[in-house]
Symmetry: C2
Subunit: 372 residues, 2 copies
Amino acid sequence: MSQGLDEVAPERRSAQEDPGAASAVVEAHVLGEVRPERRRRRVSMADVARLAGVSSQTVSRVANGHPGVVDETRRLVLGAMAELGYRPNSAARALKSGEFRTIGVILFTLSTTGNVRTLEAIASSAAAEGYAITLIPVAVPTQDGVRGAFTRLGELAVDAVILLMEVHLLDAASVSLPPGVQVVVADSDAGDQYSVVDTDQADGTRQAVAHLLDLGHRTVHHLAGPEESFAAERRTAAWRRTLEEAGCPVLPVERGDWSAESGYRAGLRLAADPACTAVFAANDELALGLLRALHESGRRVPEDVSVVGFDDISEAGSFLPPLTTVHQDFAEVGRRCVEGVLRQFRNDEHERGTHLVPTHLVVRRSTGPAPR
Amino acid sequence: MSQGLDEVAPERRSAQEDPGAASAVVEAHVLGEVRPERRRRRVSMADVARLAGVSSQTVSRVANGHPGVVDETRRLVLGAMAELGYRPNSAARALKSGEFRTIGVILFTLSTTGNVRTLEAIASSAAAEGYAITLIPVAVPTQDGVRGAFTRLGELAVDAVILLMEVHLLDAASVSLPPGVQVVVADSDAGDQYSVVDTDQADGTRQAVAHLLDLGHRTVHHLAGPEESFAAERRTAAWRRTLEEAGCPVLPVERGDWSAESGYRAGLRLAADPACTAVFAANDELALGLLRALHESGRRVPEDVSVVGFDDISEAGSFLPPLTTVHQDFAEVGRRCVEGVLRQFRNDEHERGTHLVPTHLVVRRSTGPAPR
DNA sequence: CTCGTGGATGTTTACGTAAACATGGACTAC
DNA sequence: GTAGTCCATGTTTACGTAAACATCCACGAG
């Protein structure tokens, strides 16, 4: 029930009869003689109709579960479908209906937990709605990659698009969204232009910093993400504002690129500062590197230094020590993205505004009272 | 150059004159009179042809870069395209050509590093070839999810399929591959049925176990993955064979579900065994949990116990201590999957056999000489 | 000067589906 | 008994594209 070639269409024709088969040229070159038909013709409604002795419209009705087909006819058609192995042709369907039943997801990378988890939720929500997901990676390395994505978008094989990246990066990638396609954006600040779904990073940050201050720390250092990242900047801004509101000194940030390795390097600098007793890391990987740096510098966590991360990746509870971190509900973000984009598509109206998914602090063992 | 709404065509006409104009629907709605057309008509080649004063075939020729169009005509057509914002309709193109320029990727989950990294490589390789990726998640939770995937597959909106799961699970998910679609499988043993690409897990395991034996350990314990997983079973089998060939005792395995948490629980049992001085964990997450269990049990790594993982996830180098592990080149797996599936598609021939991508041991600091 | 040649462009057609409309037969109401 | 109604099914058409085929014109060779 699940193989490829063995099933050769019975009415396979010779090349003579069908000289137009795609890339027959290549094969002719190799074989030098008869050109096998490149792609066997698919079974269409007409074939089913012929076998069942009905019109193709009746087949269409059966295929789409429309009423008004008498039981016996229906059985006849279903039998013919099964016998021929009929599958509806989604290209024809899309052409007719103008809908692809597909959502495009544009992203730069799958190396961040957030993107992956959001994508996973998007994929299952979309599947539940009968929509497929087309991945549109806008790789930075080669311009070719970008061109590929551009092309697909241009051809508009999607009904709607979810952007898993910051809107302003679109320009950099020279990708333009096709007009008339609805968009929902995650991880951005484009609420005035688009419908944006995001986790409440500012509040998560506030909770994290407040938690550390409550534990008696004089202030909180910040191990930030890369400057280009909007999420990183937002967390940094919220960290700064929380400290200012509490009247605590705001010290210069250390910066990493989200990776554990960069967190380690920046962590070594933080570890060398004896006044540093609490650090808010912009994500869990950075926190992991920081933990290692602190460990190797002989500073105990949480006795000497408290650490809070961001994301609550699945491994966070197994760090040494288990990491206190801000939990983001990526699954909910994904769900809302799909919901939003489909609502826009169905109503054919463009929405704006930002929808925030709450975040909450998960307290584990990497935070403790300030040393005296 | 990169947004949706603001980009309003300069020659914007009223809804009356051209009910098909972009976003006319919204306007009509605002005007509160004519019932808005559900979905605006797209700009087609015919529209471009009319404006340019040529035939639609000429537009087609220009769009596809065919020769035999004089420069002035070409400019005329390109100008009309730009003015109308023409985008080719991929549904029509697919219907005509019989190709979707899309590869389907079927997978259960995005929560394993291997799947994600492989998918990422697949996506960029495919994009470089001008192919899009359609994600087909076969979620276990609801049967609806499975049905959705089934439907999409049935409609065959893909030219080829890459299976990122074990073939035998397909049956369980009651997904059947449509006939005539070429398949490449990763992470399975179905080389007799399909073209399979995988990392050389047996050799990676052998390297890991041999490394530990070389360090003087009497034998190597195994923290295995779930029984249902083929990858887990393969690693376990290779571990057993390597020990047997070296004449070392083969002890019962501890088992986890790939998660760090389960690694921690199993690790507590291993840590309680004073004879246990070397553990081969089936993946890095399990190893992470194991490290934590050992730490909390007061057993030092690597002085008392050596640990080796599998995968070389990006965080592995930042564990405490940095983890010795088997590196898998998922990017190469992804590339070869795309290459293989496109080759099959283009030649219209079904390939079989297993292609292994080499693995290698990355020695960090979680392994050391056996305690005496 | 005429015919042939070849290049540029136009016309026809088919891809598979499904909406819209047409047909024809059975049954009901008067 | 006849007209009207409704239901099952058939026929026509359009969706947008591109291959195949047709046409037309300019130019060169004889």
